[in-house]
Amino acid sequence: MKKVINNPQDYTDDMLRGIYAAHANQVKYVESDLRCYCVANKKPGKVAIVTGGGTGHLPLFLGYVGENMLDGCGVGGVFQSPSAEQIYNISKEVEDGSGVLYLYGNYTGDIMNFDMAVEMCEMDDIQTRSIVGADDVNSHHDLKLRRGVAGIYFMYKCAGAKAAQNGTLDEVLTSAQKAKDNTRTVGFALTPCIIPEIGHSNFTLADDEMAMGMGIHGEPGIWNGPIKTADKIAEESLKTLLDDMPVASGEEVCILINGLGATSLEELYILSGSVSKILEIKGIKIYRTFVGEYATSMEMAGASISICKMADDEMKQQIDMPVCTPFYCQK
């Protein structure tokens, strides 16, 4: 296991200590619990947005806590859910009378703990709404059973913008829902990653192999086979995406080319170029292109392609709204 770490047991907390030391003016933790991650200076009165999930996906999830995006994040161990109590404690800290939106990925452990936090908030008369990202097309044919991956970025962006504009809890939920309804993702892996406390990878791929549709925890995909060119990968991925959510010629989309951790930015831009070529041929307009690491799986190699259809002008304005967190700035 080639990792720059100390004791594997301390992986998550060492990481958090590093983050708080680096960004003390932007984020803090509450209840003396490093894993209760909150924005340092919340805009008063606005709807709070709280996310959460396992460690190992930076900048997901906590990286989106900051100006015009999210207000808090429950930090779980590697690939594990945060606890309901942590989510509840974060909610109490960041909620300011307008309610809390829970926005996180569609994973059993997370759902249960957020649901439990909802019940705890109810006892305190804190209003909550919940919505999960479930954008990974290849993970299930049933929309409700799909897991959430990089496409949650668009939900964060839209919900965050609506909350920043003092939208009500239900309006913020609606913005998140609209982003969700219009977002689809396809991903593929080239190499596995290693959970520090386990010390070896949970799957292997031959030297010339890729896994199409593989999940960010290594969940099996729809095929393993010889690695294809960027153009071919883009072609197959876009077919999957557009079969699932048709986009007509003339319609506008945002695209997000996301690296899983070890894939270089050079390759991501090559892939992005392949995607934009195909969309151009189809007459689909690209409103904005995002390329980089948005949701990783530690040192896994691979990438995902997300498409978010621009449903209306409000959505475009939300996508364009400047945001600033310690991990992600957009002007």
Partner: protein, 217 residues
């Protein structure tokens, strides 16, 4: 008297933690075949913490409230799927006992039914989905049936019936296809073996049985 008081709650769950310590490797191995292999660890970690949490969070002499509060704390110790489900079961079971100073046979049956409801609500699952619910749901039914047929049944009769129900429930999961969690991905592999969560549910009941049969024979 044939009832469990607040003072005895830590010892009751100490017995549960004992069996999970014994079965730790077995549960991890089962889980590793179809999931991430953490089940034995989280069960033993969670139930090992519970006795002290019951002690520390004792609410007057209210067995219900004490169970609810301690289970909530336990869920923070093990926020994995099964950790959260177990905590939710105990919380909902505790809710049926709210205000009670002790658990009698009727109370135990109600607790078990509540436990299954807690699992079902938290997991948004139904019987037949190949989960812990198939074990603890069958257990609660069997206990309730016994009590309906024999209103004089004692704590031991109830828990024995529950374990019998769990046995049948675990057996039944062998032919069920998983729909939830990491196992769902490996659905094919699962057929023919019992669901590891159901097995864990049965062990929890056996742990309670060990205590009850010893102190209320």
């Amino acid at each position: 008297m044939n009832t469990i008081t607040c003072t005895q709650l830590p010892a009751l769950f100490q017995a549960v933690s004992l069996i999970f310590n014994e079965k730790k490797i077995e549960l991890c191995d089962m889980d590793a075949k179809v999931g991430d292999g953490d089940l034995g660890l989280t069960m033993s970690k969670g139930f090992s913490a519970l006795p002290a949490l019951l002690q520390a969070n004792r609410q007057d002499d209210d067995v219900g409230k004490t169970l609810m509060k301690a289970a909530l704390k336990m869920s923070s110790v093990v926020p994995s799927t099964m950790g959260t489900l177990m905590s939710s079961g105990i919380m909902e079971g505790g809710k049926t006992l709210k205000g009670a100073k002790e658990i009698d046979a009727t109370g135990l049956s109600a607790y078990l039914t509540g436990f299954a409801v807690g699992i079902r609500n938290r997991g948004k699952c139904e019987r037949g989905n190949r989960t812990i619910l198939d074990a603890v749901g069958a257990a609660a039914d069997k206990a309730a049936e016994l009590l309906a047929n024999n209103p004089a049944a004692n704590l031991t009769d109830i828990i024995n019936a529950a374990v019998l129900g769990a046995d049948e429930g675990v057996e039944a999961t062998k032919n069920m296809t998983p729909v939830f969690g990491k196992s769902a991905v490996f659905a094919a592999k699962a057929i023919g073996t019992p669901d590891q969560g159901a097995v864990a549910g049965r062990y929890m009941l056996i742990g309670m049985q060990n205590y009850i049969c010893r102190y209320f024979p």
